[in-house]
């Protein structure tokens, strides 16, 4: 666990960057610090590995004040990923990844063997090992950056806007892999972003900062969307927070109508949806495990105004319209 | 350190061979060579930079110029053409051309091409693009080439005394010939000061002619 204990950072002549921050980042979870620029999120992040020292207050890792530790040794057990990856241009991909293990005194051979495994882990083939960073795309560089941070198997990862320098499609892919990796590894992660969507998507806990280094609210993404503490948080999470909070509910409780109520739906011989009589293309289908947000989206884009629920075998089980979803949400609010 | 020659007021009158006269003749050589050399090299460098034709020449001129031994060039010219100002001036001019040519070329080539595109985009004619956009933006690089040419010429003009010309080199060469170290020292000090001051003057001139938008100062 990482603990901020009444931390203040004042820059000489530059005002307050972090204002009496107390915050706990749970072990094995991803905590995302998010807020507008100048809100002190990056400053706070960089106090964890002592790239910045607090003016007052303490930062603790598992109860140990980081101020009491040797800087270099502390940093070697905290993985660090930054925007644009910050890869060493003069080293091959493999040697970039092997950096920290080598600093920790492992043999070059051992470090390189481990590095090769890590590359695979972040979705890069062994072909990339001998290349230099300049030969990689932005997304590939970012993957190498993550592999490099993971190389010494640090219990803690500090990530400063790790995905903001790549285009949206690549970012989407990196997000998926990040979630998959984190599910396997269970690191204690502190991440900074200015993108609230990214924070909600990746964070187990999200801490929203406001200008002047004040913590506005901390909670799970769902808490932030459903019960914003004040106007600022409500505004920051966005006007469409109601719609977005639907991402946290599955369609399991959503009642469906029998397929017979959708005469325009085409089924193949096996009973699987094949399309709509009125328009081309596949029918929008979902399973009980998909989110309500996805189902809502499908009903909007479907030519018949309906989405089709399918079972594990792919057979159509029922249909819903956006009216059905609206009714479901009203009933849910009433029962709460 | 014997400064008697330098401090003797008799050497500071305006008679032939006095320090002020030697400074003047030194500056005269430098100025002539810079004018002629720049008049030749600047248009060529700008043209190559603007059109991109002959880049190979422009890139390598700087290196080749640096590797030319100045004393050899000077003595070759005098041996071929005889004593006098003209052969020395040719040698000095040859030294001015490479750095000015290369920096004029580099100044234009390293410009942000988007700015040049924008200049064309707002309807400037090629001549206007060159004089209103490319040249002003290339000035910092161009001036640094001009300054290194100046240093080169000031130094080589000192050597010109070895082939019978005036200039501050006289104090060094004559002093050495008659073992008058006080005179040698005076020459060394005056020519060093002259070089430093001249470079300073051009540095200030650069500050004055280069748009503040192109220097670090503007970002503060």
């Amino acid at each position: 666990m990482i603990t901020f204990d009444d931390v203040v950072k004042v820059y000489p002549g530059g005002g307050t960057a972090v204002d009496h921050l107390s915050l706990e980042l749970p072990t094995g979870r991803t905590t995302v610090l998010v807020g507008p620029s100048g809100c002190g999120k990056t400053t706070s992040l960089r106090m964890i590995n002592r790239m910045i020292s607090p003016t007052s207050g303490r930062v603790l890792i598992d109860g140990q004040d980081v101020a009491g530790e040797d800087e270099a040794l502390l940093r070697r057990r905290i993985g660090y990923v930054i925007q644009h990856a910050g890869l060493f241009p003069h080293r091959t991909v493999l040697d970039n990844v092997a950096t920290v293990p080598m600093l920790l005194g492992r043999t070059r051979r051992q470090a390189r063997t481990d590095a090769l495994g890590l590359l695979e882990r972040v979705g890069l083939s062994a072909d990339f090992a001998k290349r230099y960073p300049a030969q990689l795309s932005g997304g590939q560089q970012q993957r190498v950056g993550v592999a490099r941070a993971l190389a010494a198997d640090p219990p803690i990862m500090v990530m400063d806007e790790p995905f903001s320098a790549v285009d949206p499609i690549v970012r989407e892919g990196l997000h998926r892999e990040f979630l998959r990796l984190q599910q396997d590894l269970g690191k204690t992660i502190a991440m900074v972003t200015h993108d609230i969507d990214e924070a909600i998507k990746l964070g187990d806990v999200v801490a929203i900062f406001r200008q002047g280094g004040v913590l506005a609210q901390v909670g799970t993404p769902r808490e932030l969307l459903e019960q914003p503490a004040d106007e600022f948080v409500a505004e920051f999470v966005g006007r469409d927070r109601g719609l977005r909070s639907l991402s946290f509910d599955t369609a399991a409780g959503l009642p469906v109508r029998p397929v017979s109520e959708a005469p325009d739906l085409l089924l193949d011989d096996a009973g699987r949806p094949a399309g709509w009589r009125t328009g081309g293309g596949a029918a929008g289908t979902f399973t009980s495990a998909d989110s309500l947000r996805l189902v809502t989206d499908l009903t909007i884009t479907s030519p018949a105004g309906m989405a089709v629920r399918v079972g594990p075998d792919g057979k159509a089980e029922g249909v819903v319209s956006h009216h059905d979803i609206a009714d479901h949400l009203v009933r849910r609010r009433e029962t709460k | 350190m014997n400064l008697s020659y330098l401090l003797d007021p008799a050497h500071w009158d305006l008679a032939d061979g006095s320090i002020p006269r030697l400074i003047l003749s030194h500056l005269w050589y430098v100025l002539l060579a810079l004018l002629i050399g720049t008049a030749i090299a600047l248009p060529v460098g700008l043209w190559i930079g603007h059109t991109g034709r002959g880049s190979f020449l422009a890139i390598n001129a700087g290196n080749a110029g640096r590797s030319l031994p100045t004393l050899g060039l000077l003595m070759l010219m005098v041996t071929l053409l005889g004593l006098g100002l003209a052969p020395v001036l040719i040698a000095l001019t040859v030294l001015v051309i490479p750095p000015v040519l290369t920096s004029a070329y580099a100044g234009i080539r390293t410009l942000d091409h988007r700015v040049v595109d924008a200049a064309k985009g707002v309807g400037m004619r090629p001549w206007q693009v060159l004089t209103k956009v490319e040249l002003p933006m290339a000035l910092p690089v161009l001036m640094s080439g001009f300054r290194s040419a100046t240093l080169q010429v000031v130094a080589t003009a000192t050597v010109a005394a070895a082939v019978g010309l005036n200039g501050l080199g006289r104090l060094l060469i004559d002093g050495l010939a008659v073992n008058d170290y006080s005179r040698v020292l005076a020459g060394a000090i005056v020519v060093a000061v002259l070089a430093v001051v001249l470079d300073l003057v051009f540095a200030l001139a650069q500050r004055w002619v280069v748009s503040p938008g192109l220097t670090e100062r503007s970002s503060k």
């Binding site: - | 050899g72 050597v159 070895a162 070089a195």
Partner: protein, 216 residues
Amino acid sequence: MITYLSNNGDAVLAALRQHIALALIPVLIGFVLALPIGYLGVRFPWLYHPLVNTCGMLYSIPSLALFVFLPVLLGTKILSPLNIVVALTIYTVALLARTVADGLKSVDPLVVQSATAMGYRRLRRLTDVELPVALPVILAGLRVATVANISLVSVGALIGVGGLGQLFTRGFQLFYVEPILVGIILSVLLAAAADLVIVLLGRLVTPWTRFQGAAS
């Protein structure tokens, strides 16, 4: 020219040997001195501008002036080769100290930052990350310094020690073009060869630069 060379082969060779020594020893000494000096200009930012200005001033002193001034300062004999070596070392340091400082400053701050965050201590970060990344810039400066030194050595002939420069003074005194041409050609060839060696060595020690600017 061929006849001149065949009649004076030994003398030309001796002059060439002296030229190489007088030009390259200062490059080596100057390079070693410039590294820590340039580093100081980056480590202590307030030192950078004084350093650059001092280097610029030293570099602008004409070589002949420095050659004849040094004996006064060092107490050496005016004919001592040491004067040439010290003078050229000063030029080399003046040129390279600035290049080293600029090279180190040109290292992407993100790279330095990530090295720090990965647990590099200052000295090792300098030797393992910052210097190697700055190497292409430093080597470019080394090329300039080497070529400049090779051409400057000949001026020393005016005070009696000048490698190939002696061919110039000899030819000039006899009003005889051959030795001057031989001297110029050898001097230029030597500069080109030294330049080429540095370029090739540079490629060998900075293999990554070949790919820069290639991919996005």
